[in-house]
């Protein structure tokens, strides 16, 4: 396992409020990591920084074997480098079909002329169906994404993430709006993905995190409060005080 992503000394403030405070974080490839922490701990902001949506005031974010800095790269460049993201609030293209959503995410050249001259291929269609089957949307391919239920939109976004074939998957609260059976399916899927890829999962649901059975990072007020196995961190006094005890 080699380090794929490394943040060190990262801080970011919004109007004087320090959302991320001297945060350091590492993940290897392959690895599965859960991030937990109270509301407003900075979990989503962490993902914003990695994906280029938010630029930190201080610190470094280093990516890959060549140790390139993500701070100088645009959002789309970062995504092409192999970082995919599922948003906390499901964000799909509602006025397009499930198939179109997946096709747009499918790993293919991203330049305007590549896309203009892109021809639908049998492999592409097969891959879309494979992903749709994986996320349980095979029967919904021709439907408008806007017609899907909240849980189905979550699945669609997970499907889009899979279609991108990223090296690092940032998954923000995937289980919200899912049935217990779907949650189980999600944990299985994430664990399977983590055999080859780096996967970071933010989740509040402790049962879900337990089933992931992986290293856990506890965030609080923008920095790491504790790190280790779930059993280890839940015994941590500070973690109990700020997160679990409430």
């Amino acid at each position: 396992m080699s380090t794929l992503l490394e943040l060190s000394g990262v801080s970011v403030s919004f109007d004087g409020f320090r959302a991320i405070n001297n945060l350091s974080f590492q993940i290897g490839e392959p690895e599965l990591r859960a991030i937990i922490g109270p509301n407003g701990a900075g979990k989503t902001t962490f993902m914003d920084i990695v994906t280029g949506k938010t630029r930190p005031d201080e610190g470094t974010v280093i990516w890959g074997e060549k140790s390139v800095s993500l701070l100088r790269m645009s959002e789309s460049h970062i995504a092409r480098a192999g970082i995919g993201r599922k948003f906390q609030k499901p964000t799909v293209f509602e006025s397009q079909t499930v198939r179109e959503n997946l096709a747009m995410a499918l790993k293919n050249p991203r330049g305007p002329f590549d896309v203009l001259l892109y021809r639908k291929s049998a492999q592409g269609a097969a891959r879309i169906e494979e992903i749709a089957a994986e996320v349980g949307l095979l029967d919904h391919l021709p439907r408008m994404a806007g017609e899907l239920s909240h849980g189905q939109k979550q699945w669609l976004e997970i499907g889009m993430l899979l279609a991108q074939e990223p090296r690092l998957l940032l998954v923000d609260e995937p289980a919200a709006g899912m049935t217990p059976a779907e949650r189980e399916h999600t944990t299985d899927l994430l664990k399977r993905l983590a055999r080859k890829h780096a996967v970071v999962v933010v989740e509040h649901d402790m049962e879900f995190v337990r089933r992931l059975d992986c290293k856990v990072t506890v965030l609080h007020e923008g920095s790491v409060l504790a790190e280790g196995s779930l059993d280890h961190v839940v015994k941590n006094k500070e973690v109990i005080d700020v997160y679990l005890g409430r």
């Binding site: 645009s74 789309s76 092409r80 964000t91 293209f93 179109e100 747009m104 896309v115 889009m160």
Partner: protein, 404 residues
């Protein structure tokens, strides 16, 4: 096979081309050129100009309705196309006139004398008799035709690159495009702009070397050329907004940040759409102004581009034929009302004079469409066709279901 599926997925293309073909044939048969003379030559020109406006409207629909960029400057590109072709038309025609008048001279004139004579003919109204540098290629039809494409294309490329790169969006971008077209028209209004200031370019309906050909015939030629350009433009844009490109472009409109996180460089896509539509607008302008006969800086005033947006909104954003219909209906109504075609309404205490009140009517219609019929005139077609052309998969799936 690929082509068939493209057309099968976009049935509106065949319908649209058929409608344009029938319209053009019908107008031709009724024209003075065909001998029937049911419609006047000037009305044939109005119809030809309308086709050009429909072409720039579908370009506007692609940039606004599909890509979500409310450009309020696309008529600047239209005007630049008109100026580019107008320069050649004026130059070449004046050259012939000058050659005729100098032919009588006993001493053959030097090329410099010929050039000076042409320049003083063209620029006498603005008090100079020298060719400005921008007229360097005016003697070449081929090069000026190239300018029809290059000048709007390059302006759009540079403007778009600067604007999109700094992530100017929404109303700020609209204002910036208005500023661009305003700056262009103010510049052109100056006498030393090199394009005859507020006089503009005139006599564009007279094709150099074709003095013997009656305007009735010329008007039909331009009607056909405009119809062909509209049909080709329709196919081009239908292709651009279909398939994966269309998917990404509509994604940019609905949530550009999300498109970025999928790895697409949104700015390149916007630049592509902005530039290609500007080029088509330039071509539309180059066909329009020889039919209008005159172009002046008022044509690229900010209001022109706002009208363009109004046509598209009334016709129905996000479907090409809607924009085309909107441009045709509103521009034809506009010329009917403002040319005194509509009878004034005498209310006893007040006379509604349509030349003045047309704009009020247009404004009210615009607000009404925006509020109550956001799909515009094009939305009426949904009442007849239940298949959503933007969701070919859905149609396909329904067909598959039906077959099973």
């Amino acid at each position: 096979m690929k082509n068939r599926s493209f057309l099968a997925q976009n049935p509106s293309i065949l319908w649209f081309i058929a409608a344009i073909a029938i319209f053009t044939l019908g107008a031709t048969l009724m024209s003075e050129a065909a001998g029937t003379g049911l419609i006047s030559t000037s009305f044939v020109k109005t119809l030809g100009k309308t086709l050009c406006l429909m072409l720039v409207a579908i370009a506007m629909d692609v940039v606004w309705g599909y890509c979500g960029i409310l450009s309020l400057g696309h008529m600047a590109f239209f005007g630049l196309g008109g100026y580019a072709i107008g320069m050649w038309l004026m130059y070449a025609r004046t050259e012939i006139i000058v050659a005729e008048s100098l032919a009588a001279a006993t001493i053959p004139p030097t090329p410099q004398e010929v050039s000076d004579a042409i320049a003083s003919q063209i620029f006498g109204v603005v008090g100079t008799n020298k060719f400005p540098w921008i007229w360097t290629f005016a003697d070449s039809l081929f090069l000026q035709l190239l300018m029809v494409v290059l000048v709007p294309g390059l302006l759009a490329l540079v403007f778009g690159w600067l604007a999109f790169r700094s992530r100017v969006t929404g109303v700020y971008l609209s204002i910036l495009t208005q500023a661009m077209t305003l700056a262009l028209s103010l510049y052109l209004f100056q006498n030393d702009s090199g394009l005859r200031g507020n006089n503009g370019l005139s006599g564009l309906q007279n094709l150099p070397g074709l003095d013997g050909v009656p305007q009735a015939t010329v008007s039909i030629a331009f009607l056909w050329a405009s119809a062909l350009a509209l049909a080709l433009g329709y196919v081009l844009f239908a292709w651009v907004v279909s398939g994966k490109m269309g998917s990404v472009i509509r994604g940019v409109r609905d949530n550009e940040a999300r498109v970025r996180f999928l790895g697409y460089h949104v700015e390149s896509y916007k630049l592509f759409v902005f530039t290609i539509t500007a080029v088509v607008a330039g071509i539309a302008g180059a066909l329009y102004y020889p039919q209008a006969g005159i172009i002046n800086p008022a044509e690229v005033a900010p209001i022109a581009s706002i009208y363009l947006a109004v046509w598209v909104a009334i016709g129905g954003r996000g479907r090409l034929y809607g924009a085309a219909i909107g441009a045709a209906v509103v521009s034809l109504l506009s010329s009917w009302f403002t040319s005194g075609g509509a009878p004034n309404i005498d209310l006893g205490i007040y006379v509604i004079n349509w030349t003045d009140w047309w704009l009020v009517l247009l404004g009210v219609s615009f607000v009404a469409v925006t509020l109550f019929f956001p799909k515009g005139i094009g939305g009426l077609f949904d009442l007849f066709i239940r298949n959503d052309k933007r969701a070919p998969d859905a149609v396909e799936a329904r067909r598959r279901e039906a077959a099973e």
